[in-house]
């Protein structure tokens, strides 16, 4: 019994040790980022690393807003991320409802189109898409980014997986009670699919917020640029201002962290029911 218990304790210690190790490795770059962001530029590469700077240079966080138009970039990114996320969740859940709960001719073929689109990388058609948008006069507009990200084949697939598991009887009962199809979607499907919706919100918001290639192609005017392009601009213009670049990186990370942390409660459940059982 004693041996057994000892083994169990040893095992537990090992588990914690391994988890702690990988946690450290995960946190390390962030710790370095935050710590550097509060230093004088010349101190960033001092070794051994001074994790908590003696006199934190909070001024870095003021200067970043003055050196490049970070405020404009931030505003643009918030606007795009919020609109794209809202539209993508809406269109995805609309299509998903049709695919999961309604019968219509051509349903399978349409669904195959969606699956096929997931399997084709966006880069394969980004050029004609860009030309098409330009010919519609949408080059250098936020509308271009919104249009091309408002519809997501992956989002439709994910929401459909979740809707499939909501019992048909619920919809039938609502139909008998006289609810219209839109009513069923709004009152039955949406409230019952919060884990899937929050998961899609996290995915879409994070993707749009962090998107690089899309804005790089479509948004060439400074007043339209997004935060990732701005960050890149910053790091090429002030190559050696490590402390400031780190401060800007931290600043751009905060909003996306807030969104993630406030929604993460449903996240695992959402992932489980929508993505896993494909």
């Amino acid at each position: 019994m004693n041996l057994n218990q000892k083994m169990k304790t040893g095992y537990k210690v090992l588990i914690y040790f391994l988890l702690l190790l990988v946690t450290l490795m995960t946190i390390y770059p962030f710790a370095w980022m935050i710590s550097s962001s509060l230093k004088e530029n010349k101190d960033v590469f001092n070794f051994p690393i001074e994790w908590i700077p003696g006199t934190p240079r909070w001024k870095n966080y003021v200067e970043i807003w003055q050196k490049i138009p970070l405020g404009i970039f931030m505003k643009n990114t918030v606007k795009l991320s919020v609109i794209v996320t809202f539209l993508q969740v809406l269109t995805s859940s609309f299509a998903a409802y049709a695919f999961a709960k309604l019968d219509f001719k051509g349903k399978n073929i349409l669904f195959m189109c969606y699956i096929a689109t997931i399997a084709i990388p966006w880069q394969a058609y980004m050029v004609p898409q860009f030309i098409m948008m330009s010919s519609m006069g949408l080059n250098n507009t936020h509308l271009a980014i919104i249009c091309l990200q408002a519809f997501s084949a992956f989002g439709v697939f994910m929401m459909r997986q979740f809707y499939m598991k909501i019992p048909d009887e619920l919809c039938e009962a609502a139909r008998i009670d006289g609810l219209s199809e839109y009513g069923i979607w709004l009152r039955i499907m949406v409230p019952n699919s919060m884990p899937a919706i929050t998961t899609l919100i996290i995915f879409t918001f994070v993707t749009t917020w962090n998107d690089f290639l899309g804005p790089q192609i479509y948004l060439t005017e400074t007043r339209l640029k997004t935060i990732q392009i701005g960050l890149r601009m910053f790091s090429t213009q002030y190559t050696s201002d490590y402390a400031l670049i780190m401060a800007a990186s931290v600043a751009t990370l905060i909003p996306v962290l807030i969104v993630f942390l406030s929604l993460q409660k449903y996240f695992v459940q959402g992932m489980m029911s929508s993505a896993v059982k494909g």
């Binding site: 391994l18 988890l19 990988v22 946690t23 490795m25 995960t26 770059p29 962030f30 370095w32 590469f45 070794f47 690393i49 269109t91 995805s92 609309f94 299509a95 409802y97 049709a98 695919f99 309604l102 019968d103 219509f104 189109c113 969606y114 689109t117 399997a119 084709i120 990388p121 966006w122 880069q123 058609y125 980004m126 050029v127 004609p128 030309i131 010919s135 249009c147 519809f151 199809e181 994070v206 962090n210 690089f212 990732q228 960050l231 890149r232 490590y242 990186s249 751009t252 990370l253 996306v256 993630f260 993460q264 996240f267 695992v268 459940q269 992932m271 489980m272 993505a275 896993v276 494909g278």
Partner: protein, 299 residues
């Protein structure tokens, strides 16, 4: 009577079905399917980016001929797939850590959140940090290696032998949280009765993992492989940001960088489209193959 009722519901269904699907599907056609068809046609033309798509001169398979003879293209394709070494490494690590975290440490949620932070962090910021971490002079990693006695630490960013590994390490680090969460979700879906039955039969931890957990997690693994291959084929930002040009001896160059440069820098959209078609066909083919294999082995 009953049959009639279902058919009338079906009719209602069909009408409403279309009302729900119409906007999303028009979006899909307009912004994905039409551009896709345009790409296929454009790949058969000499199309300078500035020129109208409809004026592009048809040149048959010339772009493809040129492409298949371009060493740089094969190099880029080789690199793109080399990066995918990170996929099995990431899967292996996330499986281990998901398994550890799932053992009632009491802090699952904390770990989960911590591991997911790299996933939501922008690649621009992460690339910048990793570039500094891997610097050969004064970079944190090499300083550490020197301190523990490695006299000649690798020139991570300067030698073609190591450059790809910087990107692989970074991608694994960044993606780990996402696969861990999916594996945990999968593990929580496995009924305890399997393990109880196995315990009665005298199975130990490792055996249970091998014969119960692993097979039941197969859908998750499958999903992760499929999505990682699709994502991996799109590698663009990471090498571009860490290695300003294409890395020493083009060692970090990828197919999407090739596609981007030919289209936007050299303005050869026709040639760029041929690259896009080849890449699309490869990824689509790989996905179809995986689906096929998965279906065969599941039966």
């Amino acid at each position: 009577m009953r049959a009639k009722k279902t058919s009338s519901i079906k009719k209602v269904d069909a009408f409403w079905g279309y009302t729900f699907i119409i906007i999303p599907f028009v979006g899909l056609i307009l912004f994905s399917i039409i551009p896709l068809i345009m790409t296929i046609y454009a790949s058969l033309t000499a199309w300078p980016l500035g020129q109208s798509f409809f004026d592009a001169k048809f040149i048959g398979l010339k772009n493809y001929k040129e492409l298949f003879h371009a060493d740089l293209f094969w190099k880029s394709l080789g690199n793109t797939f080399f990066y995918m070494i990170g996929i099995p490494i990431g899967l292996f690590l996330s499986l281990i850590f998901a398994n550890l975290m799932n053992r009632g440490t009491g802090y699952e949620n904390t770990f989960r959140v911590i591991f997911y932070v790299p996933v939501v962090t922008s690649i621009v910021a992460v690339s910048f940090v990793f570039q500094r971490l891997f610097m050969s002079d004064g970079g944190v990693i090499n300083t550490f290696l020197q301190n523990i006695g490695v006299t000649n630490p690798p020139n991570w960013l300067g030698h073609p032998q190591y450059t790809k590994w910087v990107i692989i390490i970074m991608s694994v680090w960044k993606g780990l949280g996402s696969s861990i969460i999916l594996y945990i979700a999968g593990m929580q879906g496995i009924s305890n009765s399997y393990y109880e039955a196995a315990t009665i039969d005298g199975a130990t931890g490792l055996k249970m993992f091998r014969y119960i957990t692993l097979p039941l997690l197969k859908p998750v693994t499958f999903y992760l492989i499929v999505t990682s291959v699709i994502g991996g084929a799109q590698m663009y930002v990471e090498p571009r940001l860490i290695f300003a040009a294409n890395g020493p001896a083009n060692s970090t160059f990828t197919t999407v960088i090739y596609l981007y440069d030919y289209t936007f820098s050299n303005s050869r959209a026709g040639y760029g489209s041929a690259i896009a078609v080849v890449l699309g066909v490869i990824v689509f083919g790989l996905t179809a193959l995986q689906l096929y294999v998965n279906r065969r082995t599941s039966k």
